[in-house]
């Protein structure tokens, strides 16, 4: 008897003939598009610009902090640098990053819809975002604002002569872009799910974006109102926040943080959704505790609204109130921990592949956990007084926002890049970038925990000499981190022309978005998909998620 050796011939993937990128050509077809995928791409270009602009400010800050003397910038200029860094990164990169780019692209695909519920409002949200960004840039070129991204009164409402109103109006306008995106997601998830796609079968990425959308719709108007009151006080001297006019500065903090603390969850929740998708795909295992992960997103969205005053423990709020807020802040750690434990359990006995998205996801879990646990230090009434307004807070926030959110965003971008563009990025370069980012990030921000604990305050351009070594380490780390961020920009652009054709499902992932072509056609699916089984059907037979 003879045996025949069968050699597997690798399948050569080809790009689909017609897809959303080549359906129409010309600037007009992009600027007037109602296709959620093209709008996602418009957002991608816009927020990438703001990410690198914010990064430039960060680079200048770290350059100044190389030496203890404030020898590169005046203190006023330094104040403007950290304000513009914070405003750029938070309002024009972090908040729109996952929802407006990945969410816009993927939510309709994941629910089996042809588009979002309100395509015109979706396009309008991008234009509104651009208008808000134009105001922010106008404030920047007309001298910059030096209040810090928190705009605390009466500093912002009375004392400073910088263009606070212009920047405030910019953020107010951009806030409506966020509201429109959230509204679109909520209605789409409620009304446009494919047949068979019950709430219990929704991908966790959709659950996370849905939870973030609730915060966008319910919280952002409060920021808008607060900024309008600030403008009214500044312009017409109506006493609201300024004690000299009969106002209360702590009221501003209450209103500001009522939005801005949940805004942290607008930023991190969609990132958590990305991580859920990546972990389960690259562990080749059904996600552990689907229901708990789904409902922990909703729990974070709700709990996130009742913890805001932990930012104000030293602002003169009542001790009893501080006790309540401290307790509630500890409570919000529970649903976050539920997610981390479930992701870890998903990997347990899974067939883990360390592809680039997975490297970012693993980085996320570690860094977010450190960021989250150090958040508990800040929620503890006594300890917060010691580390308040020090570099400890800066480090904590960046561990959550950069170590968590930016890692998730980059992981998601790598995971769905083949779907968005139809091409694969160079894997070896991408793995190296993920590793450089992880190392650079820790080198930048871990020394800041120590600096803060030793008592170095944030927002000063000069510091005692004993802090220099740690500051030099941090600045060195920032330059490594910059390499980690610039590399993906280069190889993503490279892959658009020279990348290997990806095929419909290069990761062998489940989910409706992988059932269509890469890149998808303008209307997403040739026929409406019908969902017949639970999500994340990885395992023995890896049966197809959907029957058409």
């Amino acid at each position: 008897m003879s045996t025949v050796n069968q050699v597997a011939i690798p399948k050569v993937e080809v790009m689909p003939e017609k897809h959303y990128l080549n359906d129409n050509y010309g600037i007009r077809s992009w600027l007037l598009t109602k296709d959620h995928k093209r709008i996602a791409v418009l957002y991608l270009f816009t927020i990438t610009f703001f990410f690198f602009l914010g990064g430039l400010f960060a680079a200048l800050i770290r350059l100044e902090l190389l030496t203890p003397q404030g020898d590169l910038f005046q203190s006023d200029t330094y104040n403007k640098l950290f304000t513009m860094h914070g405003v750029n990164m938070i309002f024009f990169f972090l908040i729109p990053s996952v929802p407006a780019v990945l969410g816009n692209f993927l939510v309709p695909l994941m629910v089996g819809a042809k588009d979002l519920a309100f395509p015109k409002i979706n396009l309008l949200s991008w234009y509104i975002f651009i208008a808000g960004a134009a105001f922010a840039l106008a404030a920047l070129v007309s001298g910059g604002v030096d209040t810090g991204w928190t705009f605390y009164t009466p500093l912002s409402s009375g004392f400073l002569k910088t263009p606070v109103v212009v920047l405030g109006v910019g953020i107010l306008i951009a806030g409506f872009a966020s509201i429109f995106t959230g509204l679109n997601f909520i209605v789409t998830v409620h009304r446009m799910r494919a047949p068979g796609l019950t709430w219990g079968r929704l991908p966790l990425f959709v659950w996370a974006n849905y939870a973030a959308s609730l915060i966008m719709v319910l919280g952002t108007p409060v920021l808008a109102i607060t900024l309008i009151l600030l403008v009214l006080e500044r312009g017409f001297h109506i006493g609201i926040f300024d004690p000299k006019l009969g106002g209360d500065p702590v009221l501003f903090q209450h209103m500001f943080w009522f939005y801005s603390h949940p805004a942290v969850y607008i930023m991190i929740l969609p990132g958590m959704g990305v991580i859920s998708e990546i972990i389960t795909c690259f562990s080749r295992k059904r996600v552990f505790g689907y229901t708990f992960i789904a409902f922990s997103s909703i729990a974070i969205a709700v709990f996130g609204f009742v913890v805001w005053a932990h930012h104000m423990f030293v602002a003169g709020i009542s001790t009893y109130s501080a006790l309540v807020f401290s307790l509630l802040s500890f409570a919000v750690a529970i649903p976050s921990a539920v997610k981390v434990f479930n992701w870890t359990a998903t990997m347990y006995k899974g067939s883990v592949t360390l592809s680039t998205p997975m490297l970012y996801a693993l980085g996320f879990i570690g860094l977010f956990t450190i960021g989250g646990l150090t958040g508990l230090f800040l929620a503890a009434l006594g300890l917060d007084i010691h580390v308040h307004d020090t570099y400890f807070v800066v480090a904590h926030f960046h561990y959550v926002m950069v170590g968590g959110m930016v890692m998730a965003y980059l992981g998601g971008l790598h995971f769905w890049w083949p779907k968005m563009t139809g091409r694969l990025y160079p894997e070896a370069w991408a793995k190296m970038a993920a590793l450089i980012t992880f190392i650079g990030f820790n080198l930048t921000f871990f020394p800041q925990f120590i600096l803060g604990y030793l008592g170095m305050p944030r927002r000063y351009h000069a510091y005692p000499e004993e802090f220099q070594v740690l500051n030099v380490l941090s600045s060195a780390g920032a330059s490594v981190l910059a390499v980690g961020f610039i590399l993906p920009l280069i190889y993503f652009l490279y892959s658009l022309r020279y990348g290997q054709v990806a095929g419909n499902n290069p990761w062998k992932a489940t989910g409706l978005e992988w059932e269509t072509t890469s890149p998808p056609p303008t209307h997403n699916f040739e026929e409406t998909p019908i969902v017949t089984c639970d999500p994340y059907n990885y395992g023995d037979d890896e049966e197809v998620h959907v029957v058409k």
Partner: protein, 97 residues
């Protein structure tokens, strides 16, 4: 968009008239010194006006239950903002002893 009942033109005019009356009332009362009751009266009129706008001009009275729940959620969140902020203001003078 789902079809639902709309208020009649006559009802719109009645609501509009009620809003104008409310505005005039607020303006008139602002000139009377009622002490602590000035803001209370002004806010009461404002709440009644807002309720009329939401129920009739925004058609919530004629909407499905999901829309009503959504509107209620908005007010619930406003309640969180007010009550937890007040938890600070009202307890500032309390002694720790």
């Amino acid at each position: 968009m789902s079809e639902h009942a709309h208020p009649s033109r006559a009802l719109y005019l009645v609501i509009f008239a009620a809003l104008i009356v409310g505005t005039c009332l607020t303006w008139g009362i602002a000139f009377k010194d009622l002490g602590i009751w000035n803001p209370v009266v002004a806010l009461t009129i404002a709440v009644i006006k807002a309720t009329l706008v939401i129920l009739y001009f925004m058609h919530v009275r004629y909407s499905n239950k999901l829309t009503i729940v959504t509107v209620c959620a908005g007010f619930f969140w406003l309640l969180i903002l007010i009550s937890l902020s007040l938890s600070d203001y009202l307890s500032r003078s309390w002694s720790l002893q």
